[in-house]
Structure formats: structure tokens, C-alpha cells
Symmetry: D2
Subunit: 353 residues, 4 copies
């Protein structure tokens, strides 16, 4: 570090002294707090904006990418990421969350890799695909939530004859802002195996509520259950709705052995809103990305209204009020950074109605 | 407290002085440690002994009690408790656990009460019975585990036309040794209601592995899920067995929202042993009570061998080795005081083969 | 197990049938619940009674035992245990806690052993003694709390020329009722070493509030700090009292690395009551044993009043109201089974004024 | 959202089709993953660089700012922030941590405010200053660590006649990247009060290792103890060093009631290196900022060597190896984002020698 040239004599005019001072500060790799007016705003400044992406467009472009763009080592994945218009062209849905649509055509394989950013898949269309997670083959079908947690090996296989499209979410923006991204490619040769409709992970941890292996102690930071099946989620939503007085039902996906969030950076939840019902207007510190899995609805996010149909995705920025009113019985998958905010003591939330 | 008469003059013979000293100690409500030879044994002294009760006898006597003994306020329950021959006639299966067979005849009702000792029911025979747990009606069928946790109101109803027999377990001996027993009778008038095969508790917490209400925060010491159904348990055992190399499968019943034991004083588990398979010989500090739900087996407990058929119950004392070898595919329900030993830092366990 | 002789023909008179039934039940090692009237009392039946032991007597008898009774392998310790008059001659202060006065004369050594029951020492009189805890030499002085946790090796040395008398507390009654007692003798040859006034444990964990080793991860069930010095306790009480509006101050001794109770079965606390001040009347499920370390007071326990002077010890049974009024500034050491009750979900407490 | 103009006819040349596709993707607020080559680097890309700021310069500029820049509402604080040369002119020491020197002249007051970013102060020079933390007056002296946790009101007073200079650290970059910054000004009128050398917080929680209020339950996310005094820290380092075989001693500052980090986003520690001793070379995922409090040393951070004297500050980027060799007995204060990485399952660390 160069020594600062700080030599302003006392006889110098005040403004010149101040200017010279600022120059010395800059040369010393320092910055005065008092000139950084926006650095502590009264509320989060909301660079990210409320935004929705239509499934019609997402699907059309994903299919077109399937025709035009091969999958191979280097690209690894055929993914179109949701780029929030408020985030200056970065490929992020919110400041902490990556959202995207991924397309895997018939006969294609996305090769093995792993990375510290955690990822999840929520399947929208297609069949016959399976994902190998740390050696465990996990089948994928619409409505399923499949986890590929931080630093777990994963590769996707489509041995069938129809394409699959799924929603991808990662904590990549968060991991990047923490300088915490590590990445590693797996072997190029593919694993070929017959896939059971039930993975090892599901056999051991997914048989039913409150039933866990007698001795196995889970110590990793994420859920040992890698797949949450739509059949179970659908039944759980229906059961909860039976006792609901609001026409809405909300579930959290958790590690069945500890009840904690499925991954330490991403809360996953499913929300059912009956036709005509409306959720309360609420907001929280932290952001989320949503997928309209079934039905149609109008979401009011901040000042804007978004008309949502099956497959539509939307982003809710930090501290931005949201309410959803269903026009037809609607189901939403949601992932958020809530566990991060809770772990760091930064969570705050409120209802506005 | 009377002042001790401790007046031995120095000239008195030594033995007389000692005698006088002991008398003074006793009068002062004190006791010398050094004369209490057995108070710190090298290993738990095992007053409780390994013991098995045959279902044939249990059932015969339970049915006979149904003919002879009415249920009414005061008695409240028609229960025959397992009385370990090593425990000096106390009605306890082990020093911490009460085990029993309960009989509820057609048309009978066991009236509402609550107590701080926690209880559980594992159903062996019958149908059509339901238990009201803190206002939530819980249906009961063979193989089901039903919880009535500490201080929860509970009453049993048999509106059907066949009797039901179930295994009762309580932490009553433990609660008694802690001077921690509180008891309260409920209202005498019975609740009558149509019972759903699925309780509220199950609708909210029992829909599937890793699926919990989005907002509901469980703060009580015990599981919010009161019923674990045999259909789920059976499937979970089968799934686990598929990947087992030993021909055995073991499950733990846990609170689905936190993964902790269903109740803080009683661990519950289910164990499947395929015909011809044999569990390892192990022992642990703390005791357990078992029910043979299906099949037949030979259990070696300490030095003794017990031939077990469906419905047979047995007690395993602290630090006593146990191994089970199935003669036909066999399923066992087990409840133990393991969470107590773990919470108090007293758990130790070892394999002996 | 013999098969029960249950042969009552239907023509037999009812009472005979019942009698025959009861006999068959007994022969089958069973007991009917409905005849055990007292087994579920409305409140803990309080076999243990409120009781106090006077220091004058304790000291006199302890000193006399020092003259009459040698310490050697087998007896191991010269201990007079508080025997609650309600507990049928058992050497226990309460159903879960052993309390005692221990006497170690000049030049004496109490040889090494270890046991699963946890123990603590609160020093009342004397100087120059040290206790070796798992190889760590811990000096002892009046007002110090010294831990010898479950299964830790410990031996006591008095190389000085005055006797030491201390209060011993163990969870022995609890450990016995759980069949959880293991015991092992150490080597007979004594360790001789110069003792630092500060043990290794204190050097690493006892330097100040909120200061812990950077990397060391404590995994055992008990505190890594074995000694809590009177100097610190006294200052902490004085500091707390400065801001107290009631003239009372209460501290808990905790594991400095986790904030949990020093041992999982025994809560330790210190209570200062200024002359003329009076604590609120409260009761809790679970029992405690107290030592009057300084000053004098009147304790109202249940219906009884106890006049307490320095060194006097007293037992408070489960669910028994207690209040203390100081006649001179008074300090009390207390140990209770509260962590057990909390861990097992059995804690309940209330104020009565 | 405008509908994408995606109309490429099949007869169009391939490259034109691809170009048209990319244009449609961009218009749909999407981005292809496969063109974002650097988004998943093999290791954190280390925008931030190892860097040191000399105390001589920091102090000179801070004093000069004292002459030139008033403190008033709006600016609120006279702070020069460490601006890591790798971070494109942002006023941050690392991607997660703000480091700075703050200057408060005689008679000055920095007015009350609060913000969700957590802050801490480590005092380097001066005397007589106190900080009001949520109404609790906390005195400040060299070597003291003072916390002003997330959303706590704080203001700084210098009623004395010498300036104070301290090191400021905040999790501001992290809070900003999460869109989690809230800020509120307090009342303009100043609080004037006599300051006790010991704050309420210290009276209740700071009296000694393992001594906490009997009843008070801490539920907030941060330590209830706001000040860690140099006298205690110094003694703890000396005690630890006595048993050290490496000539180094490291302490962690923790919440005395739970043993967790003082604040959920910032680990605080103190490190003593004896003259001639050298720490092992290690690296971890996540960054830290250090202050040389006493002595002198050479730090090797990555490939660079930094010669450190009293007051010098330095930044260690994520995954960058560091080792410190003392030329004179040296003490270092360090704050890091380690609790964030641990909470999010992103922590990894290794020794390199």
C-alpha cells in the first residue's frame, strides 16, 4: 500500500483541505462513510422487482433451445434462467435465488457435476427422467420436488421418448455474494442403470410421517430424503384443506429426521388456494420464487397484479407485500431464502390486512 | 429434629464408642455411607429379571376380567399389568416401565382422565374402538400405535360389537420414583361423536414423510401426531428390509416435526426379523418392554431363552444382553426408556458379538 | 412361566369366581390395575418430608467419625448421608438426591474411583484439600463448587493440617431407581503432585464470562469447567443484587461453553437473601437439597418453619411450597433435579403469593 | 412482459436461428446458462484481495477527519471504511464484512440510530467514551469488545478530553446483498447520564465463567453481554498460553448463556502469538478482518507478506491461506463470517502444513 500524500497545510482554504483529504483517503484504500448516502436505507431498496414469466414463453423458448443447443461438457445443462429486470442484467430471479426452466430432450443426458450452491428441481412436464444424486437414482414426475443439495453429485438422464421440463432453483446468487462457490466436474462416462420408481433415499426416509431408521443418525446439513412425491404432497394439501377455514392450505417440505428445512439456504413449500379464496397480504424480509403448478390465479405483488396460469413463475422481492387470489383451484410451489434470514437473525414479517 | 445424644467419653471401650456413634447418627437422621455395602454396585444389580408373558394367558385372563369386572369411575380401566417377578410384587414390567394388557368390551367406555405419566397403546386384537386424545378422536386398529402423552385427556370408546385388546405402556414407575405423578378425572358424561378414520392430528401431521404444516410451531414436549398406522409401519418395514443385508429391519417412531422421540420418556420402535434371521446380541443401560405382533421367534435374554408367539410380551432389564432369532417372519413393537438415559447422560450400549 | 390354573366353572358363585380370577392373575405374574388405589395420586404423595439437619450436629458427628472410622478401600469415603425421615430409612435426602457431609482429616486421602451417579461438592469448612478429577487437580476452598461428573475418576487429598468438611450431593437415588449404577475402583496407589490453585479445566474454561477456547468442541454431557470459585460467585451475587428490587439475587451455575446445567441430572444454584428480605413462595415438581452457606434465615417449607444457621442443610420435597426470609444476610447453595424434570417434560412450577 | 418475437422459420440459416433465439430469450427476461462461463467457478474467484491498512495512515486520516468533518444527523458517524482494492471501489473490507476506523473527538456525540446490520467495536486508543446500547451505558477502553447487535439502538458519547479511535466492523455487505437493510434514526436529543464502569448487561451476564441469572431466559439472536473487557480477555489468553505447546492461544467470544457466537453473522476471536511463534497455515471458506492490537508480526496471506505493527488492520479473503509469525509478542482481534457459513452448510476449512 502506498503511503497517502496527505500534506494539506493549515493555511490552505478549507474546501481545498477537504478535497485533499478525500484524495488522501482514496489513495489509502479507504472511503468516508458520510458521503455514502444510500448505504443504510430505511428499508431494503428493492433493486429486484416483482415479476412474472409466462409458461407459454418459457416452454416455447426451452423447446427451441432443445432444437438449437446441444448439451455437452462445459455447458452441462440446457437452462434458461429467470433474469429479474431490476437486477441489472444479472441472471438471477432475486438477490439470493436463481430460478430457471431446464429442458432435457429424449435420449439426452446432462453429465455429472457438483457445486456448493444447493439446487432443487420441481417438475412441470414430461416423464421417464431420473436424476442420480450421490449415486442414488431418483425418478422424476410432474409435481415432484427433487433435491440436489450443496456439493452432491448429480446428473440427469432422459432414456424416454418425451422431453421433460422442470423448474430449477439454486441459492447461487447468495453463494456468489459470499464468495462460497466451488464446482467440480464428474467423470464423463455416464452411469446406466435400471431405475426403481423408489430411490434408496425414499426407501429409508420416505415411507411415512414420523417413521425413520432406528439407528441412522443424519449429520449432514440437508435432508436425507431427496424426493418428495406429488402423490403425497397432493394428499397432504387435501387433508390440510379439509380443516381449513380460509380455503387455503400451506405445507412445508422438511427433513423427516429433524424437521428442519430441506436445505439450509432454501425453504420449500406448497400452497393450495381454492377457487375464490384469497391469501392474506403479507410481506417478509427476504425473497422468494414461485411456480404455478395447477390452476389459475391473480397475484398482487407490491403495486402490481399478475395473471397466472399453469407453469407461470414469479419472483417476490424482499419486504414486498404479496397476496394470491385463485380464479380456479390453484397449487403453487415456492422456494425462499427464509432459513437464511432466520439463521442470521434478520427475519421479520408482517401481515398487512 | 431431636439433638443427638452423643456423649461417649474417651475412656469408653472403642466398640462401645462406635456403637454409641452409630446410634447418634441414626438419631440425627443420618446414615454412614461406609456400612451401605451394596449402594454402588459395579453394575446395575438387576432386581428386574428377563421375563415373558404368554398371549394365551394374557388374553384368557383379560377376557375373563371383561366378564367379571365392570369399568367405572375409580377403576377407570380394565388393565392387567405385567408384574416383573424380580420387582417384589410391584405391578411394573421394569423399574421404569409399566406394561399391561387392556380389555375394552363391546359397548364399553373407559371414562376421561389425564395424568402426568405418559402412555401409549399398541393394538393387538379387535376393531371399531376409538380414543379421544385432548378432544381429537383417534381410531384404533391392530398394529396401530396410539399416543396419550403426559397430561393429555383421554378416554376410550368401543361402540362396536367385538372387544379390543391392546398393549398399554406407561412411564409410571419412573414418574413415581420421581414423585412426579399428578392425576385428574375428566367429566363423567361421555362424548359421543362419529369418528373419522383419520384424526385431526393425522390430517395435519400424518400425510407423509417430511410434509408438515407451513406455519404451525410445535412447542410441547411430545409428538403432535397421535397415531402411527400399521399400514404405514408395515410398508416402511418392507422398504427398509429390501435394502437390508441382515434380514432385519428396525424403525423408530418420531415426532414428524422435529424428529425427536414421540414422548420424552419412551422410545417406540418396530422391528422385523425374517424367518431364519437373527439380530445381533446387544445390551444397553436401561430397560424395555416388547410385544410380539406377528410371527414367532426365540429371544435370548441374558441366560434365558424365551419362545415367542403372536401377542407374547417380554421385559428386558437394564444391561441385559438380548438377541432375537425368528422362526417365522416376525414383527416386534418395543418401547424403552432410552430417551431418559440419553437426556441424563447415562446411556451406554454395546454389542456382544 | 407356569400356565395359570384358571378353571372357574360358570355355576360357581360370583365372589368365588372373582377370587379364583385374582389368584390366576397373580400366578401369571400380573396385577389388576383397579385394585391399586394409590398408584395414580392426584398429586405426588410426598413420602419425602420437609426436613432440616443442623450443622452443629452434622459437624460434631462428622468430626467424631473422623476419630473413629478410617478411610480405606471398600468404604472409600467418610460420609454421613442425610436420611429423609419420610423415606423409610433409605439414606436419601429426597427421592432423587443424595445429600451428605463428607469429612477428610489432615493427611488423609480418599482413594480413586468412578461411578455413573454424578456428584458435586460444595465446601463448607477447611483448606488445603484438592480433588483429582479425571487427572486434573482441583483445589478446594470454602464456598467453592467442585464437580465430579458421571463416570469421572475422582480422589480427594488433604495434605494440610486441618480437616475439611464439605457438602456432597449425588443423583444416586435417581440412578438407582433407573438401574443405571456402574462403579469402578481406581488404582490403590495415590497420585502425588504439587497442586496449582488453578486447574487445567479452569485455565481453559474459567477465565471469564463468554470467553472460551477457539476450537475446542465440548461433546460430553457435563460442563468442562470443574470448579466454580466462591470469589466469582460472591461477586456475581453482589452484582446481581445491585440491580435487584427484592433484596434477593439468584444465580445458576452452567457449562460456560453451552449455557446448559453443569450436569444433566443436577441443577446448581446460589441464592443471596438480604437481611429482612423474603423470597416469593413457590413450588415445583421435583425436589432439592440446600446448604446455608452464610448468615441465618427462616425457611417455610410446606407447613413447617425451619430456623437456619450457617452450615444447616435442608430438603424440599416435590410440589412442596418454600419461602426463605433472612434474619441476617444469607447465602444458600442449592442443588435440584430440575434438569431431569425439564428433559422429561414433567416440569411444572407455580408461585403461591 | 412483452411476448417474445420468436418466429425463426426452419429454412433460415442455423446461425441466424440461434441469433434470433438469443434475442427472443433476452426479450423474455431470460438468460441462457450455457453462455455464462464464469458463473460456477471451481473455487471462489476472489475478487477481494489480501490487503493491509497501516495504523499510521488510518490514525492520521482519522484525526484529520476529526478536524475537517463534523458529526451530525445524516452522517451520524465519523468513519473511514476499509475499501478492499479487489472490490471495485465498494467500501467493504471483504464481500461480507465492513471494517473501518471510527474517530470520536472530545466532547462529541454520535447520535442514536439503529439498523439491521450488526456492528461491533474494538477499541484501539483513547479513554472516557461510553456507548448507550438499548439504554444500557457501556464504558469503552482499549482492548474492549463492545457489541451493538442488529436493530439495537446505539449512540456514542465522549465527555472526556481525549479522542477515541476504534475499529468498527459490520455485516453490512452481507445484509446489503440479502436486501435486508433496515435503518431508523433515534431522537435527536442526547441522553446524559453518569456512567458506571460496569453496565447492566455486565452486572447480569459478565461476572464470571458459567455464572448466569437463575431465571432469565435469553431468546434474542445475540449475546446479552454487550462488553468483553480487555482485562478478562488478557487473563484468558495468558491462562490458555500457559498450557499451549505452540506458543499461540486463541479465544472465542461467545454468548455466556448459550455459548453461541456473540452475533449470528460475526464470529469474534482474539489470538495471541508469542514472539518467534508461528500459527499453522490454514484457509477457510469465508472471509475475515483482523486488527493488530499489540506487538508486531508478519502475516503471510495467499502469496503476499504483510508486516504488521500495532493498530494495523488486514483482510483475509475466502479460501485464502493465512499464517502469522510474531516478531514481538502479538495480540490480534479477528472478526469473521464463519457463523454464516456454518449456518448455511457452506463451511469448509483445511490446514496446509
Amino acid at each position: 500500500m502506498a503511503s497517502p500524500k496527505f500534506t494539506a497545510p493549515d493555511g490552505m482554504p478549507k474546501q481545498d483541505q477537504v478535497n485533499e483529504f478525500y484524495q488522501a483517503v482514496a489513495e489509502a484504500d479507504l472511503q468516508p462513510l458520510w458521503v455514502q448516502k444510500g448505504i443504510m436505507p430505511k428499508e431494503p431498496p428493492l433493486a429486484a422487482v416483482p415479476f412474472a414469466w409466462k409458461w407459454k414463453t418459457l416452454k416455447e423458448l426451452a423447446e427451441r433451445s432443445g432444437e438449437l443447443i446441444p448439451i455437452d461438457r462445459g455447458g452441462d445443462r440446457r437452462v434458461l434462467s429467470l433474469s429479474n429486470p431490476g437486477l441489472s442484467g444479472q441472471p438471477f430471479a432475486t438477490p439470493t435465488l436463481w430460478g430457471a426452466v431446464q429442458y432435457l430432450g429424449p435420449g439426452e443426458v446432462a453429465p455429472a457435476h457438483r457445486h456448493t450452491p444447493a439446487a432443487l428441481r420441481f417438475v412441470i412436464e414430461g416423464s421417464g427422467v431420473w436424476t442420480l444424486v450421490n449415486g442414488d437414482p431418483v425418478a422424476m414426475s410432474p409435481g415432484d420436488l427433487v433435491l440436489t443439495p450443496s456439493w452432491s453429485w448429480h446428473e440427469h438422464h432422459n432414456p424416454g421418448d418425451v422431453p421433460m421440463l422442470w423448474f430449477d432453483a439454486l441459492d447461487l446468487p447468495l453463494a456468489r455474494s459470499l464468495d462460497a462457490v466451488f464446482f467440480e466436474n464428474g467423470p464423463d462416462q455416464m452411469v446406466n442403470r435400471a431405475v426403481d420408481p423408489t430411490s434408496n433415499s425414499e426407501l429409508h426416509f420416505g415411507s411415512g410421517a414420523g417413521l425413520v431408521p432406528f439407528e441412522e443418525k443424519v449429520t449432514q446439513a440437508y435432508s436425507p430424503l431427496f424426493a418428495y412425491r406429488w402423490k403425497d404432497t397432493d394428499r397432504a394439501l387435501a387433508n390440510t384443506l379439509r380443516k381449513s377455514e380460509t380455503g387455503t392450505a400451506s405445507l412445508r417440505f422438511v427433513d423427516p429426521t429433524r424437521g428442519i428445512d430441506v436445505m439450509p439456504t432454501m425453504r420449500c413449500s406448497m400452497h393450495r388456494v381454492s377457487a375464490g379464496a384469497k391469501t392474506r397480504t403479507s410481506r417478509r424480509n427476504g425473497s422468494s420464487v414461485w411456480v404455478t403448478f395447477r390452476g389459475s390465479a391473480v397475484a398482487t405483488i407490491g403495486e402490481e397484479r399478475f395473471y397466472l396460469d399453469e407453469g407461470d413463475m414469479f419472483a417476490v422481492p424482499s419486504w414486498c407485500p404479496i397476496s394470491i387470489e385463485a380464479t380456479h383451484d390453484a397449487d403453487f410451489f415456492c422456494t425462499s431464502d427464509a432459513p437464511v434470514f432466520e439463521a442470521l437473525g434478520l427475519d421479520r414479517a408482517e401481515f398487512l390486512d
